[in-house]
């Protein structure tokens, strides 16, 4: 019999707040951080995104050898650890880090040398963060495009379920710099305004900065906490930069997650969608949700609050949804007015009071990757 995996503690560090409570409070009040910026260091044109104040320092000055990316990871982990007695130095505790681009912004400021390349390597950041807290095990690093955050939760839950570790500190972060912004711009994937997930007039995504941490454990003393009930990953095998035409593959990941959780589709109370507000992603997701029989389930996308926070997105959106289970309040989808996908879906437009027991979180990304995870009481 496999063990249950419980959510012990969490943190969201975003421009909206430095704790999960602060973030949830801002979202209840319908506050978004997505706004227009002009910063020649990031783009010669103005852009619409959610980013931290340029001069903000997260970790105090005697530790300035940490880059912004590492400071985000450290600050988020630090806050999540405050509310638990989990011992990071225990061999039964593993650190899992999710990021798409980590320290890539260093390329922009420094000369490309072998030393710089080593400094950019995600394993360098992982080691520094692990040493800072005293983790004993070598951290696990996941870099799998925009499903990295959801995949890191799934990977963590599996390593706990098969008994290899008892606790997992799962953290994700990404920093928006000219490298990332120019790339999304070249795809013409960016919206000049706050994005409109699933809407008829949606015209692209917003990028966002943030970090988030979820601490998982199989320790029975947390058995009244919310659990990771199931998760799965699939590949479209269709195109490296465009999603599946049918949504069949994301639907397969959703169905596998339900199967692992031992649930039928009607046991899902709400969905936290990927909902990037690009025309193709949202259409594919709507297809997948229909194929899995979830079209009437209330659904939100939080991208209008945070933008797309890349390697942190799956974590931030899962944590907000966990908070929704705890506070019996499911958040709406800023930017959405009129459905603009070809299949019916039930997009939440006003905060929804609901004694929800379980939710589904989905994510998809470049390389044709899809992931789904189910949390519940």
């Amino acid at each position: 019999m496999e063990q249950d995996v419980f959510v012990v503690a969490d943190n969201i560090l975003s421009p909206l707040g430095k704790t999960t409570a602060e973030n949830f409070d801002r979202l209840i009040n319908n506050v978004s951080d997505v706004k227009e910026h002009y910063d020649p260091a990031i783009s010669p044109r103005s852009f619409c995104a959610s980013i931290f104040d340029k001069d903000r320092v997260f970790v105090e000055s005697h530790k300035t050898s940490f880059t912004k990316f590492e400071q985000l990871l450290i600050t988020s982990i630090d806050d999540a650890l405050k509310s638990t007695d989990i011992d990071v130095a225990d061999k039964k505790t593993i650190l899992i880090i999710s990021s798409t681009k980590g320290n890539i912004s260093l390329l922009e400021a420094e000369k490309n040398t072998p030393e710089l390349q080593k400094r950019i390597a995600l394993s360098t950041s992982a080691k520094m963060v692990a040493d800072h807290f005293g983790f004993q095990n070598t951290p696990i690093i996941i870099s799998n495009a925009c499903i990295s955050g959801v995949l890191s939760i799934i990977s963590g839950a599996r390593l706990l379920r098969n008994g290899q570790y008892e606790n997992a500190v799962v953290v994700g972060a990404d920093v928006i710099s000219s490298f990332i912004l120019s790339g999304f711009e070249s795809f013409q994937a960016l919206s000049p305004q706050i994005c409109k997930p699933f809407d008829k007039s949606r015209d692209g995504l917003n990028l966002g900065e943030g970090a988030a941490t979820v601490i998982l454990s199989t320790n029975k003393k947390f058995e009244h906490n919310i659990k990771v009930l199931g998760g799965a990953v699939s590949n479209d095998a269709n195109h490296i930069s465009g999603p599946s035409r049918t949504g069949k593959e994301l639907s397969f990941a959703i169905d596998q997650s339900l199967k692992e959780a031992g649930l039928s589709a009607n046991k899902i109370d709400f969905i936290s969608a990927h909902g990037t507000a690009t025309p193709y992603n949202d259409e594919m997701e709507a297809n997948a949700i229909n194929l899995s029989g979830l079209e009437s389930v209330p659904l939100n996308s939080l991208k209008g609050y945070y933008g797309h926070t890349l390697g942190a997105a799956g974590l931030i959106e899962s944590i907000i949804s966990i908070r929704s289970l705890q506070q019996e309040l499911v958040l709406p989808t800023p930017g959405f007015k009129e459905a603009g996908v070809t299949k019916p879906i039930n997009v939440i437009v006003e905060p929804l009071s609901m004694k929800a027991k379980r939710f589904l979180k989905t994510a998809s990304g470049f390389g044709g990757c899809n992931a789904a995870v189910i949390f519940g009481k």
Binding site: T100, K101, G102, I104, L107, E108, N112, Q117, I120, A121, L122, S123, A126, K127, T138, I140, I141, I142, S143, N144, A145, L151, S155, R158, L159, N162, Q164, S178, F179, S182, G183, F184, E185, S186, F187, A232, V233, S234, N235, D236, A237, N238, H239, I240, S241, E249, F252, Q256, G365, F366, G367, G368, C369
Partner: protein, 206 residues
């Protein structure tokens, strides 16, 4: 660590040489990486126009997967969802990141930007073979046979996958190495038990 899974085939590509199941199949030590990869593509008479638009990481991983699977993988035995990949490397997509960043100083190219993610090589192998199952890309300083074994055994033992391609694909400038393993639950005549020790041996001894 004992396991009931089996290595059906392996393919290692490094320093201008290609080994399948420990046997040397091809050598070309005179070319740079791009030239070497093209010579491999030509030597094995591959015909896949998408190859030419890939970055070097995807080319290396894709070529290794072609050689790994040829005459070893029974395509008709599996559903697309039953086949997956677990890949690892040290340098993520940094080789192409540097190229993208240099080009973006002039004009940012979406066809270069899409390769600034390490998991694109997984996507390319999935597209080629219609693999739709579980997959993941992990970054590790060194090849960690223990970690890979645990991940793959979990997927196979829990019936999430029936067959899994796993291993290491890393490129940074002229340094490169690929070591892929086709792992299945069914034993075959020439298969080797899948273990930390066996994949480490194959990784290191060529």
């Amino acid at each position: 660590m004992l396991t009931k899974n089996h290595i059906i085939s392996s393919c290692v590509i490094e320093v201008g040489s290609i080994f399948k199941n420990g046997e040397s199949l091809f050598q070309n030590k005179s070319a740079d990486l791009s030239g070497f990869l093209l010579s491999v593509y030509q030597h094995f008479q591959l015909n896949y126009p998408k190859y030419y638009k890939m970055d070097n990481l995807s080319k290396l991983g894709w070529l290794a997967s072609e050689i790994l699977l040829k005459d070893s993988y029974q395509k008709d035995q599996y559903q697309p969802e039953e086949v997956g990949l677990v890949l690892t490397n040290r340098n993520s997509s940094l080789d192409n990141d540097i190229k993208y960043f240099e080009s973006a100083k002039e004009i940012a190219s979406p066809s270069l930007f899409v390769y600034t993610l390490p998991n694109i090589v997984i996507g390319e192998i999935c597209i080629r073979n219609n693999f739709k199952g579980e997959h993941a890309f992990y970054i590790q300083e060194m090849f960690d046979a223990d970690f890979v074994t645990v991940q793959v055994n979990y997927l196979l033992d829990n019936n999430i996958l029936k067959t899994c391609i796993c291993g290491w694909v890393d490129v940074l400038d002229q340094d490169y190495k690929a070591a892929l393993f086709l792992v299945e639950r069914q034993q075959t005549d020439n298969s080797v038990p899948f273990s930390t020790k066996s994949i480490n041996n194959i990784f290191e001894t060529n």
